[in-house]
């Protein structure tokens, strides 16, 4: 959320406009001069959708806020608005730090063409400046970034300073993305973060419990799965796939597709050997209510009988509303397979056969 990102930036000394976030118009008591009222949703293109509007008085701000609150912006309902000091914009720049996977480092991206999607800026207008992890952030990096922006010396010095502070924010908060777009140069010559987005590395939340409750771009079932530490993605087909391991689960989806089926759920158990986790996974699958379920297990850390036990517990001895095609391979496969077969599941010996059977079932059950 923009205002949360700005709180983080402010904490690390990056200049941001004064602002207040509200969830109802009557929370607005006073404003410090002309403001922008900005919808707080987790999606871009708010301006075009009518989610950002100016206001000059408290009355006006209330009116605008009540129009924007509740607004549906590309599928996201606006629950909060940010009232923010209106900037007199002279120039819009772009500045971000991301993870560069190939170079294995943090990467500054900077452009004198801010205010638009960086993807639409031509490459010669973008500077990519890596931060060598062994050298760390040094002020020369900020100077190099600032020089690329083509600004007068006092403004360049402000940009260089912001680079250092943005890097500090990324490292201290374990962000995997920190983007300021636009980074505004005001008519008064002040450089200030007008809009910002920060994504925290979910694997680093153990160091940042304060971020645990931040909203995510997930469906209710996906949200539930996340709390259970299960990788769960809803798709637009009707076959529910449960497998262990991300690559194997993806390969199972692809195999189904080859046989004319379409996956509706991607559920990766990961490397668990806890029947309770398998049980919760199967309960989630029941809630998702696919036409067919394909269970594809290559046992290692995850033992086959553990999976069978969890699945059977979730079904509580009742016949599920969908057929289950089960392909069980690896550690304790005989045991797991016979447990599932006794419960009436359709056995398959290989991945291709399982994919074919599940696809056929899904097409038959219209």
């Amino acid at each position: 959320m923009e205002y949360k990102a700005k709180e983080v930036l402010r904490k690390h000394g990056v200049p941001v406009p004064d602002g207040q976030a509200v969830s109802a118009p009557d929370q607005i008591r006073s404003i410090s001069g002309p403001v922008m009222v900005k919808a707080q949703v987790l999606i871009g293109g708010r301006g075009k959708a009518g989610g950002i509007k100016p206001a000059n008085t408290v009355e006006e701000a209330k009116k605008v806020a009540s129009a924007i609150l509740g607004m549906n912006i590309r599928g996201y309902v606006t629950k909060e608005v940010l009232l923010e000091q209106r900037l007199e914009v002279a120039k819009e720049l772009y500045l971000s730090i991301t993870i560069d996977r190939s170079r294995r480092c943090l990467m500054f991206m900077a452009s004198p063409s801010g205010g638009m999607d960086i993807e639409s800026v031509s490459e010669d207008r973008i500077l990519m400046q890596p931060v060598d992890p062994l050298i760390g952030y040094q002020p020369f990096i900020g100077r190099k970034v600032a020089a690329f922006m083509g600004l007068p010396p006092d403004q360049a010095a402000q940009v260089a300073d912001i680079c250092g502070k943005l890097h500090e924010a990324v490292v201290d908060e374990d962000a995997e993305l920190a983007e300021i777009n636009p980074l505004v140069v005001t008519k008064q010559g002040k450089v200030i973060a007008s809009d910002a987005k920060i994504t925290i590395d979910s694997d680093a939340l153990f160091r940042h419990p304060e971020f645990e409750s931040l909203p995510d771009d997930l469906t209710p079932l996906e949200e539930k799965a996340k709390k259970l530490d299960i990788a769960f993605v809803q798709l637009d087909g009707n076959i529910g796939v449960i497998a262990n391991g991300a690559g194997l689960t993806m390969a199972t989806l692809d195999s189904i597709n080859m046989y004319g089926g379409k996956a509706g759920v991607f559920l990766d158990l990961g490397g668990t050997d806890d029947p309770e986790k398998v049980k919760s996974a199967m309960m989630l699958m029941k809630e998702a209510n696919p036409k067919v379920v394909l269970l594809n297990i290559f046992g290692g850390i995850t033992k086959c009988d553990t999976v069978a036990k969890g699945v059977l517990e979730a079904l509580e001895g009742k016949k599920p509303s969908f057929p289950i095609v089960a392909r069980i391979k690896g550690v304790n496969e005989e045991l797991g397979r016979s447990m599932l077969k006794d419960a009436g599941m359709i056995p398959a010996s290989g991945l291709s056969e399982a994919a074919e059977l599940a696809s056929k079932e899904s097409l038959r059950r219209v």
């Binding site: 996977r101 590395d201 690559g247 290692g300 291709s352």
Partner: protein, 285 residues
């Protein structure tokens, strides 16, 4: 010959007293790996299944001559464990630990690479050279000694493919699971280079997945440097954009990282790509 791990590998297991550490120490031994030591601060002097436990990696290296570390330490302490191994002079490190913060991975991996240490992972199943040694959690039963080198971002999908080629009587020189995180210590190119030089490896299987551009970079490298035949499978052809598919790195973001782009790049480099994982054995000859 084989690559990364072989008969000269002497393993110290960091986090040996945990459930996974204890279980896989035994499994590695049964595979024929020389597991010479374990580390658990505060438990020095004890033994786990006859393996001596030390308080520090430095102690383990000094007392046993360990040259390879296998790390099972949980994510919050994983970077510390890897840095300790680097400081103790270990030459190969396999990081099994998953959910490592990406900034920790960046730091740990840069130090390893700057010192010429081979670090595999994080979030990887490890490395197996059948008939010689395995370091990590790969299931022993699926392997057979032979001449196919396998490099993969995935765990269980690798098992699936290795199992399929073993069932067809085709053995492997070494299988390297490099892990599916965004930042890995060893990438496809590093392993392809090793396989190209390795006399035991005659053919190569590359198992990739959506996200990032590592497969495209591997394709460039293959075109220019790899003379041995390469077969590839890319998982995630039907994955939707913007959704993280299990692995931290498996996401199609801003139009980049699609399976199509990877398959196209690999085929342009003369790599035969399998439509299904079970088609891989067919393409090996």
């Amino acid at each position: 010959m084989a690559v990364v791990v072989d008969n000269n590998t002497k393993v110290v297991v960091q986090g040996i007293t945990g459930y996974q550490g204890t279980y896989h120490t035994l499994a590695m031994r049964e595979f024929g790996t020389k597991v010479v030591a374990g580390v658990r601060p505060g438990k020095g002097g004890e033994t786990v299944n006859d393996t001596p436990v030390f308080d520090s990696v430095a102690d383990a290296v000094r007392e046993t001559g360990a040259n390879t570390s296998c790390i099972f330490v949980p994510a919050p302490r994983c970077k510390d464990a890897a840095m300790e191994a680097l400081d103790a002079g270990v030459r190969t490190i396999v990081v099994v630990t998953e959910h490592l913060p990406v900034l920790d991975a960046i730091h740990m991996v840069s130090v390893a690479r700057s010192r010429g240490v081979t670090l595999i992972g994080p979030n990887c199943p490890g490395v197996a050279s059948p008939g010689k040694a395995k370091v990590g959690i790969l299931p022993s039963k699926i392997f057979k000694p032979g001449h196919v080198g396998v490099v993969s971002k995935s765990g269980t999908l690798t098992y699936e493919i290795v199992n399929a080629i073993t069932e067809r009587g085709i053995g492997q020189s070494t299988c390297v699971g490099i892990g599916g995180d965004r930042v890995s210590g060893t990438n496809f190119i590093d392993v392809l280079e090793l396989f190209q030089q390795d006399r035991e490896t005659k053919q190569i299987v590359l198992v990739g997945e959506i996200g990032g551009t590592a497969e495209e970079e591997a394709a460039e490298f293959i075109k220019a440097n790899v003379k041995k035949p390469v077969v590839a499978y890319i998982a995630g052809r039907t994955a939707p954009p913007g959704k993280r598919m299990g692995h931290a790195g498996a996401i199609i973001a801003r139009g980049r990282g699609t399976a199509e782009s990877k398959i196209k790049a690999l085929e342009a480099a003369g790599v035969r790509t399998a439509k299904l994982p079970t088609d891989v054995p067919e393409l090996l000859k």
